[in-house]
Symmetry: C2
Subunit: 136 residues, 2 copies
DNA sequence: CACCTTTAGGACCAAATTTATCCCTTTTAT
DNA sequence: ATAAAAGGGATAAATTTGGTCCTAAAGGTG
């Protein structure tokens, strides 16, 4: 359970690739897709999300492509994951605290703890850190 | 992301109901389903899994039904969740450490941390605790 | 034994989600 | 103009989710 989907994996691979380019260097979606080993059209959708959320800057036409909108050290893994997978919510009842069935559910507190922990971990990892990691 | 499915929710509701019964009291699947507000045939499958894993004891025929196989204090939320949702694996690459694409993936360590944290949280909560919780 | 009750297990199915692909539009540089 | 790129919508196959249904097996009871 709790699995990241392909979309999430692709998103991470793609943005790490961008972070590994020389600062300011514009990358084509075709280039990122090839390097990250991700279907190009699918990755294009992912980067559209990134652009809408302000994680990357896109430009069209000749010489266009994608660049990080902020330093990689200012983009967290949480932002990247949530950009394509939505908010980290281990249980539906955490949305608006609506557990239904009369009264809050008994596991509410546990899931809130899980959510907080996972968010903290992912917030503590930047794309810069990942881009520099050699292994592990 | 990371959402528990209905199956997981139903599993938790069902086993908490069992834990709230007087010790040794046998419950019918129809009774548990009605009380937990879960489709009966679906819950039956869930309790089959519980029985196979030794979380509950089942008996057939007149007077049959389900009882906890151990004290509720000795059944963790993790066991219940994993019984129906499979192991807690935030990323596929944690299965056998096979990240593919030549070399371990850069996020491997992060996902392992997430996995460990979540497992620890869920291992720290017993069904007895949940059964006694009034709210939150 | 015959019959009823209850779980076990397999087959099946509809809906939702995932994992894409395709095509046309818009923007921009030359 | 034209070519190069991303933007955005429609579509679709595959997989997963969320069930249902039917028959079998096991265990009591008269």
């Amino acid at each position: 359970m709790m699995e990241l989907t392909r979309k999430g994996e692709y998103a991470i691979r793609g943005i790490i690739y961008l972070a590994q380019q020389p600062p300011g260097r514009v990358s084509l979606i075709s280039e990122i897709a090839a390097a990250s080993d991700v279907p190009q059209t699918f990755l294009a959708k992912i980067f559209q999300s990134f652009a809408k959320l302000g994680l990357v800057t896109s430009s069209r036409g000749t010489g266009g492509g994608f660049v990080l909108a902020r330093p990689a050290s200012a983009i967290t893994l949480r932002e990247v994951v949530e950009a394509v997978e939505g908010p980290i919510l281990p249980n539906r009842c955490l949305i608006g605290n609506s557990c239904d069935r009369g009264g809050p559910c008994l596991v509410h507190g546990v899931w809130r703890t899980v959510q907080t922990e996972v968010v903290n971990i992912l917030d503590g990892v930047t794309i810069e850190t990942l881009a520099r990691t050699r292994e592990s």
